[in-house]
Symmetry: C2
Subunit: 220 residues, 2 copies
DNA sequence: ACTAGAATCAAACATCTGTTTGAAACAAAT
DNA sequence: ATTTGTTTCAAACAGATGTTTGATTCTAGT
């Protein structure tokens, strides 16, 4: 990020560089532990640029969250369920997509990390993130869960099942250092495909059991 | 917390009050966002008491983690699997125990919150917490998972299943504000028993499918 | 009662940190 | 070329924050 060789005065470039540097540092260290001097330095901008362009640290943080949320929606749209006929493939795609976003080292992981930090230390920005990031993600998960479990399962159970699924994917975002310390080679490059397989199999079985438990009397 | 009417000089009481106040504030706001002045105030102690008794903020933080980990082991031992004959009950107990610890508002929740913060922003204290808190917890989960899924499932799959189970329980610790915003009444007092039921059913089904997939050729 | 060490306290200290300032550099319009 | 408004910059600023200090109070041993 942040072209260090930015000789001509380019307000937009400074603005963008500050947003990018802020996103990385806020995601890595959290709001309180991030120094505005470090953000400015990484952005190759002057210290006062933060106050000039955004008003202050707090406003920059909010702008970062809005910007990252908007970018995720624009650049990485949650794939629509185009497997209307194959619920299992739909489930696998949702899991793979969610896990890929969560474990990505690039900008896709940024918004997830920021969101998780907001979850744990909510600020006034949490509602925005929930509305723009979490709810659409959950809706997608819920549609996949519903497709597998069938329409006869009560909405309550479907929501709980969706939460279980999201939980297992997001877990590896926060618990990565610990998981690697307890069970090695789970989030390594090779282990990632195994992980998607496991999550698909594991939840598929649970969802099919849920479907069976709420089968329509006349169903096979 | 921290008896405010502590007229006689009692070094041990000050020491303990600082540990308690530090645990609460560190768990609530994280290390960077916690001010030593607030800790001292909540403990009813003088500001300099932190340096005097522990050396500094960093050392107090380490002492808090060690103390909370030790207290959890001493006061809330992870119930041993006394259901050698009933794997389902064992699973339910493990889930209920883990979820109870995670959602507890008392001191049981403290160590979990501190641990989760360490997971996300690891410090040099993480290895200690993993060894003293996380590994024993995971061993217990793994024994329950193994009891249900049977001995013929490869250890790799068992560990992944254990992680899935832990993930679903810990999720509600970090995601509580978001969960309540997406799906109301899940972590409420009434919803908690429903939650334990759901988690038990959901994972029981998944584990039984795992058992069936790896059944000994001669098994029924 | 006296002394010595431990613990507490109010105050001061040094550093860090977010913010502001006023001048300088730049771009665009006249 | 001059003017005007915008952007950048080094420096300074004010407040917060972790730490230290030196005196004071307390407890215990003699």
């Amino acid at each position: 990020m942040s072209d260090d060789t930015r000789s001509p005065i380019d307000p937009a470039a400074t603005h963008a560089a500050l947003l990018a540097a802020g996103a990385e540092l806020f995601a890595e260290h959290g709001y309180a532990a991030t120094r505005v001097r470090d953000i400015a330095a990484r952005a190759g901008a002057n210290l006062a640029a933060i106050s000039y362009h955004f008003g202050g640290k707090q406003e920059l943080y909010m702008a970062v969250l809005e910007h990252e949320a908007a970018r995720m929606i624009a650049q990485h749209p949650l794939s629509q369920p185009d497997h209307a006929d194959d619920p299992v493939a739909q489930l696998r795609d949702v899991i793979g997509g969610l896990l890929g976003r969560v474990l990505a080292d690039d900008e896709r992981g940024l918004i997830q990390r920021l969101l998780l930090r907001e979850m744990f230390s909510p600020s006034e920005a949490l509602p925005l993130l929930v509305e723009r990031v979490q709810k659409p993600q959950f809706a997608l998960v819920l549609s996949a869960v519903t497709a597998v479990a069938g329409p006869h399962v009560p909405p309550d159970r479907l929501r709980l099942a969706g939460l279980s699924l999201v939980a297992q994917c997001l877990f590896y975002l926060s618990a990565r250092p610990v998981v690697e310390r307890i069970v090695p080679d789970v989030v390594s490059a090779g282990g990632r495909t195994r992980l998607v397989e496991h999550l698909t199999d594991y939840n598929l079985a649970a969802l099919q059991a849920l479907r069976a438990a709420h089968a329509e009397p006349g169903d096979a």
